[in-house]
Amino acid sequence: MEKVDVRGLSCPMPVIRVKKLIDKGSKEINVVGTSQVSKENVSKLAASNGFALKIIRDGKDEWEVELSK
């Protein structure tokens, strides 16, 4: 399980960070972030790359998801 921390990063940095891991061939990625926008964008990226998304935490100020393939 690769871990990536995108807390506080503005658009489109969270997506770029996750995409780098996907391009490297990671099959399981854990992502923590803060804004709702970045959560939506990471979810869209996961869907378009055929990853299943599991929401671990979905707080107002912080979220955590797991991508797996």
């Binding site: 506080g8 503005s10 658009c11 489109p12 709702q36 378009s48 100020d61």
Partner: protein, 356 residues
């Protein structure tokens, strides 16, 4: 296509259509909305520059901020946060405005101009796409302005909305502090600044666009960026929606006039139309959003986006005082120099802020 994509497409169609209705009701041609031009008009209304033809407190801007504020509060997304290279963002905002005033419009107005048949705006659009592409090059290379943090207080998030409330008061009240010289606010008596739809309608239009933009995260540079970067077309659909919505109503009202020459509030210097929006596209991509997106973010507590807005207003003031801004006659030598300096400066920032 999932429902979110339909929603952003519909939002775009509505924004484009509203823009043309605003022109019908009095706004300058192909300028139903222009975030850069309208912030420039506000800078002029506050006396920060003395270009008498572009001074007005544009209610559309006020509406977008208030609409974004209310929507983000209901969505639980209003949160003060900041601290990501704030002064750098201020400087980038300044150059983003200079680029927009060399072209004569922000990316939103560019697409509205294209939908009005202005071929100069197609040249600008190509420059914009190239600029976003250059920004993506920096993003891929590891560009990052740093993390923002949530503040322990939301108070800072109200600065921009409170400023907007003050502007709304000044607009409605028309207060004059200095009977001899005029002021504190100045309104154009002629030129684009004097052309405006009724205040209530402009304000309402802004509120609707603020709501739609907050919900859909509508962003013109983001549309092209996401498509280049990850082949994601969500934001691009909003972009296309604006174009189609405006195009249809432009035909319906007989506003569509194809050509390069004699376009409203536009010039035909191709190189500078290209480079002006190149600078805007590059800067917007490094900032994470176009002028519209920055305005909406500033309304929901993003203090860094607020710094971009202040940078843009400052940029508008110096663009007119230093003769950088273009006119229908074209771009002067100072504007050409400022545009090139801007591209070099923003490129330097893009290169310098690479993370290893």
């Amino acid at each position: 296509m999932d429902y979110r994509k339909w929603f952003v497409l519909g939002a775009g169609l509505l924004v484009g259509a509203i823009a043309v209705v605003l022109v019908k009701l009095g706004n300058p041609a192909n300028m139903g909305f222009c975030i850069a031009c309208f912030e420039r008009d506000i800078a002029g209304a506050l006396g920060l520059h003395r270009a008498g033809v572009v001074q007005y407190i544009r209610p559309e801007i006020l509406g977008i901020v208030l609409g974004g504020l209310i929507t983000s509060m209901f969505a639980g997304e209003f949160k003060a946060r900041g601290g990501s290279s704030t002064l750098v963002r201020f400087a980038l905002g300044m150059f983003m405005m200079i680029g927009a005033l060399v072209f004569l419009g922000c990316p939103l107005r560019d697409i509205l101009r294209v939908a009005g048949g202005d071929f100069n705006a197609i040249v600008g659009l190509i420059g914009f796409i190239a600029g976003v592409g250059a920004g993506v090059y920096f993003l891929r290379g590891g560009f990052n302005l740093g993390k923002a943090e949530y503040s322990h207080s939301n108070a800072g998030g109200y600065i921009i909305p409170l400023l907007v409330a003050l502007l709304l008061f000044l607009l409605l009240k028309g207060t004059v502090f200095n009977p001899d010289a005029g002021g504190p606010i100045f309104f154009s008596k002629e030129g684009p600044g004097s052309m405006a739809a009724p205040i209530a309608i402009s304000l309402l239009a802004g509120l609707v666009v603020g709501f739609l933009s907050q919900r859909t995260r509508l962003c013109l540079s983001g549309g092209i960026r996401d498509f280049i970067l990850i082949r994601e077309n969500y934001l691009l659909l909003g972009f296309i929606g604006i174009f189609v919505g405006a195009l249809v109503l432009n035909f319906a009202f007989g506003f569509f006039k194809p050509g390069f020459a004699d376009q409203p509030v536009a010039h035909t210097m191709h190189i500078w139309n290209f480079l002006g929006l190149f600078l805007v596209g590059l800067t917007a991509t490094l900032l994470g959003g176009c002028p519209l997106r920055q305005l909406v973010l500033s309304s929901e507590g993003d203090l860094d986006a607020g710094a971009v807005i202040f940078g843009m207003i400052f940029g508008a003031a110096i663009a007119h005082n230093f003769m950088f801004a273009a006119s229908g006659a074209g771009v002067g030598i100072y504007g050409q120099i400022a545009c090139v300096v801007g591209i070099i400066f923003v490129g330097w920032i893009g290169w310098s802020y690479k993370e290893v």
